[in-house]
């Protein structure tokens, strides 16, 4: 009973922290993106991808907050949000976008031009196929593979080009996807708090394990 109360408290704390921290991080990344656009005249594709990841994540946590807090909410929202991976719903759809953008980020960071949008095309195809036929058997395995690949390649990229941003994202992805994959209540709740703290450190610019940053 006490354990249950503890995890519920942790969950509400996590939802509430997410609701503020992730949109604020998105805002900071967005400001940096548009400031750079103003200076150079064009969008930086790496920053744009990171912004897209955080933007999608913001939508996810906002929806998650509204669905999970005990307040009056439209039944349609709860039904569409789903909250599980078993089939394609708003929750798994947004997680899928984040995982796909993770792969896009790897391709962009490594300048594999032919693969810039591959994961997004693949995921888009999956969604279109689902809309027309209701087939979503590939979703779960896709999210696990892309999520896993994103994490591995983000670490590799981070250590190869000594990029603090990539390393921060790699840690963030590890915890975020790890908590989704492990799916143990207490672990998930604590993970949410941990990645929120990491995001605060990253977005405020204090995350600098590599002293000399090489920007390609």
């Amino acid at each position: 009973m006490v354990d249950n109360a503890f995890t519920t408290t942790l969950a509400h704390l996590g939802y509430s922290m997410n609701l503020f921290i992730i949109p604020i991080t998105t805002l900071i990344v967005g400001i940096k993106l548009f400031r750079e656009k103003k200076a150079t005249g064009k969008f930086n594709i790496v920053r744009s991808t990171i912004f897209s990841i955080f933007f999608t994540f913001s939508i996810l946590v906002i929806l998650e907050f509204f669905v999970n807090v005990p307040v009056e909410k439209p039944a349609l929202l709860v039904e569409w949000f789903g909250g599980l991976f078993e089939s394609l719903n708003l929750y798994s759809f947004l997680i899928g976008i984040i995982a796909s953008l993770g792969i896009t980020l790897i391709a962009v960071a490594n300048r594999w031009e032919s693969f810039y949008y591959t994961s997004l095309f693949f995921y888009g195809g999956m969604v279109i196929l689902f809309l027309f036929t209701g087939f979503d058997d590939l979703l779960m395995i896709y999210v696990y593979i892309t999520g896993g690949a994103s994490i591995i390649f983000l670490y590799l990229t981070a250590f190869r080009v000594k990029d603090n941003g990539a390393l921060a994202l790699a840690i963030f992805f590890t915890i975020a996807f790890g908590s989704v994959a492990i799916d143990i209540d207490l672990v998930t709740r604590i993970s949410v708090l941990v990645y929120d703290v990491i995001l605060i450190i990253y977005s405020t610019g204090f995350f600098k394990p590599f002293k000399v940053e090489v920007v390609s």
Binding site: S114, Y116, G125, L129, F132, T133, F135
Partner: protein, 217 residues
């Protein structure tokens, strides 16, 4: 029997014209090392393969309309292979490097869709999108750059696509042969010679014509 002879004649014409064109595009690639020629050669290779498969299927008696897995037909698989090469070729021509994997992904989902759903409509939409707009763009670019091979490709897409729309055997076959001839003419430089003469020659012709008019007056 008459139908089989008709297929035999048409496919042999197609194979001969495309093999001749392939020889020229491959030679051009060897001489210039321009990667566009290798892309054209791969495309021509795919068209030849399609014709050989059609020939074999009619001779050996393989039904191209037979289902192999789910609702997937042999004919559709061959068409998909051809469209992948065609799509890839268009992306290459327009230098859309970032979209290079799109043809494979689109084909993967179209085939997967066809495995579980009998509808052919997605494939028809895909084929239409891949046939007419590229034909227009290639013809326009070919005219702008005075490139005969591009004109040949554009006409090929146009006739080939029209052939698939007009499902009357005679017109379909006629358009297929026309598409092969149009492509072959592009490969041998016919359009450069007769559609786009040298500017110097053009000026000479115009000059002569004007001078004749002046003399008449």
């Amino acid at each position: 029997m008459a139908f089989e002879i008709e297929i035999l004649i048409i496919e042999i014409i197609m194979i001969v014209l495309f093999v001749l064109a392939l020889r020229l595009t491959f030679k051009s690639w060897r001489d210039t090392k321009n990667r566009m020629y290798i892309a054209v050669s791969v495309y021509v290779g795919a068209v030849i393969t399609n014709s050989i498969l059609t020939l074999l299927s009619s001779m050996v008696g393989i039904d191209k309309e037979a289902y192999i897995v789910g609702y997937l037909k042999i004919g559709i698989i061959i068409a998909h292979i051809l469209f992948v090469v065609q799509f890839e070729f268009i992306l290459y021509l327009r230098r859309l490097t970032k979209l290079y994997t799109l043809p494979f992904i689109a084909t993967f989902y179209l085939i997967l869709g066809q495995l579980i759903n009998p509808s052919i409509i997605p494939f028809i939409i895909y084929a239409t999108v891949l046939t007419y707009p590229p034909a227009y763009f290639i013809l326009r670019d070919g005219k702008k750059n005075r490139n005969g091979l591009a004109i040949g490709m554009g006409l090929f897409f146009l006739f080939w696509g029209l052939g698939y729309v007009i499902q009357i055997s005679f017109i379909y076959n006629l358009l297929r042969i026309l598409s092969a001839i149009a492509f072959y003419l592009g490969a041998i430089g016919f359009y450069e010679k007769y559609l786009f003469p040298d500017q110097e020659d053009e000026e000479k012709i115009v000059g002569t014509w004007i001078s004749k008019l002046v003399i008449k007056e």
